[in-house]
């Protein structure tokens, strides 16, 4: 049997952070999948990286800038098109606290 890196509790917590509700079966499935992925990463852990600088970006690019010049934004109908709830020109969200 494979060693477990991630517990059920941790999977539940990650689901909570992502605002996703999981059924009992899905939880089992995700525990399995998460741990498979982590096992895979274990292989990378074995590589000696002592002398290697960390890579933050795979593209060999840097300093991509934009000038500080304004251009038109979206029309309001377009901007609010995907909002599930609206009130006048605002989006409407549930209370926070």
């Amino acid at each position: 049997m494979k060693r477990r890196h991630l517990s059920k509790k941790e999977v539940e917590h990650i689901a909570w952070l992502a605002h996703i509700e999981l059924s009992k079966e899905e939880k089992e499935l995700f525990i399995e999948q998460f741990n498979d992925i982590l096992d895979y990463f274990k292989k990378i852990d074995k590589v000696d990286t002592e002398e290697v600088q960390p890579t933050y970006h795979v593209l060999d690019l840097m300093n991509v800038y934009r000038e500080d010049k304004a251009s038109p934004s979206l029309p309001i109908e377009e901007a609010l098109k995907n909002a599930p709830k609206k009130e006048k020109k605002f989006l409407k969200a549930p209370r926070i606290v």
């Binding site: 970006h57 690019l61 500080d68 901007a79 020109k89 605002f90 549930p94």
Partner: protein, 488 residues
């Protein structure tokens, strides 16, 4: 435990300042001029994080941030990255904020800076642990207090505006020091011309506060530097009260409610601070070369410390006055514009330091919110110097100038405040005063104090408009005549 230790207060600030001189947001070309606009009209696919939309960094924002970091004596990173800070909260449409991170290999724009503040004439060093760039979240509108609002309205015009985050070490020991620090920071950023603190919500802060016998509490939502002293004082009082009762101060995040002037607990699970930061791969690394830094340095305007010195040497005004004027860029600019119009720095400084500032302070106004201009103040001082009005009348009309923006001469003419310099008019009034105060006149022949009383009565009769020198002279002449007559 000694009381000095018992009262030990440690405050660290996390300040968020919009780079208000930018014309666009941090990562997209939406206009940053969101104030007074209809909700959700300054948004685009980048603001919303729609798949396929790519953020591109505003170069000017990096220049401004580097400029601030230099002024705050920081070490600027040679290479920096952006990270995603993940959280579900309606203020960010993407469900993450592009920010910078100082762990997991992340490098903020600058670290290890400091600012000196003057507290009771003593210099105090406040360490700055980091300075970085991030996006401002959107604006949430609650119906009534945050904990009672049935739902939340969201406006994303502000989402993505460039914010400079400045984090201090817990080196501040009172709410007043926190305010002084923020004022100084504001003045520096305004002198750099990257920020206008007069704009609503442009400078906000969160604070970490602990007192001896307690634990660290975070207070969020302090919306201006005017509010910081009030919010911190409330929180310290709340914590002291708990400690005195032998109760535990809980480690938590609280929310400052500006209307009710209290801090409220925000017991949401979001407090677990599980932001799952990871590098923002839609943005490439930024390399800040020495040439770039030198280029920014060349563009840097005069900083407050240099300006204070210049005020002392050029205008010959006291150090304290120079410090107060420069503590607010608008005041210092006003002063210099006045001096250009009328080369009397000492008088201008005195009027500003005493009457003008007192009036603004008492009415909780900032100079740009008032109607007075340098032209107004200079005209008023000229009228006094030319003998048209007395200094006393000057003090009287100043509040009206500040409030209405009317010209000093206009106010003076309309309200009949011109100085009475006519000998004939004053003699008539002296006659009346003498007739009404026979006892005082008698006493005044031998008692200097009563002479002052008579002058006072005359000033009262003329509502302060009499030329004081001439009034004095006429009264003394009259008394001499009576004295001469009285002798056999």
């Amino acid at each position: 435990m000694g009381s000095a230790i018992q009262n030990r207060i440690l405050i660290g600030l996390e300040i968020h300042t919009q780079l208000t001189s930018l014309k666009t947001k941090l990562f997209c070309s939406c206009s940053s001029d969101y104030r007074g606009k209809d909700p959700n009209m300054l948004v685009c696919p980048v603001c919303f994080g729609i798949p396929g939309a790519l953020p591109v960094l505003n170069k000017k924002a990096v220049e401004f941030a580097v400029m601030a970091a230099i002024a705050l004596n920081c070490k600027i990173s040679k290479r920096m990255f952006f990270f995603r800070k993940n959280y579900y909260y309606p203020d960010m449409p993407k469900n993450f904020q592009i920010s910078q991170y100082d762990r997991a290999g992340g490098v903020p724009l600058a670290v290890d800076g400091f600012l000196h503040i003057d507290v009771k004439r003593k210099r105090k060093k406040i360490r700055i642990s980091r300075v970085h760039l991030e996006e401002d979240p959107g604006r949430l509108v609650h119906l009534g207090p945050i904990d009672q609002s049935p739902y939340t309205l969201v406006d994303y015009n502000r989402a993505g505006i460039a914010l400079l985050e400045v984090v201090t070490d817990p080196d501040l020991n009172s709410p007043k020091e926190a305010r002084i620090f923020l004022q100084k920071l504001r003045s520096i950023l305004e002198h750099l011309e990257i920020f206008d603190g007069g704009l609503e919500g442009a400078m906000r802060c969160d604070a970490n506060i602990s007192i001896a016998g307690g634990t660290r509490v975070e207070v969020k939502n302090i919306s201006s530097f005017k509010e910081v002293e009030r919010a911190l004082s409330f929180e310290i009082m709340r914590q002291k009260d708990l400690v005195e009762k032998g109760l535990a101060v809980e480690r938590e995040t609280r929310h400052w409610d500006e209307t009710r002037r209290i801090t409220l607990t925000l017991r949401t699970k979001e407090e677990e601070h599980d932001y799952r930061y990871f590098p923002e791969l839609d943005l490439v690394p930024i390399v800040i070369t020495n040439d770039f830094i030198e280029g920014v340095k060349d563009q840097m305007p005069e900083l407050p410390e240099a300006r204070i010195q210049r005020f002392i040497t050029t205008y010959n005004i006291p150090q304290y006055n120079a410090e107060v004027l420069v503590s607010d860029k608008a005041l210092a600019d006003f002063f210099e514009r006045c001096v250009k119009l009328y080369n009397k720095p000492k008088e201008i400084g005195n009027w500003m330091m005493s009457d003008l500032l007192r009036y603004l302070y008492e009415n909780n106004l900032e100079l740009p919110e008032s109607k007075i201009t340098p032209e107004h103040l200079v005209e008023m001082i000229r009228l006094i110097d030319d003998g048209v009005i007395s200094g006393k009348i000057g003090k009287k009309v100043l509040p009206e100038i500040i409030l209405t923006g009317r010209l000093p001469m206009q106010i003076i003419e309309e309200e009949g405040l011109v100085k009475v310099t006519s000998r004939e008019t004053l003699e008539k009034i002296v006659d009346r005063v003498f007739a009404e105060n026979p006892k005082a006149v008698e006493d005044a022949l031998t008692d200097e104090k009563t002479v002052h009383f008579l002058v006072g009565q005359l000033m009262k009769e003329t509502k302060g408009k009499a030329d004081p020198q001439l009034a004095n002279q006429i009264i003394r002449e009259r008394l001499e005549i009576i004295k001469a007559k009285g002798r056999p």
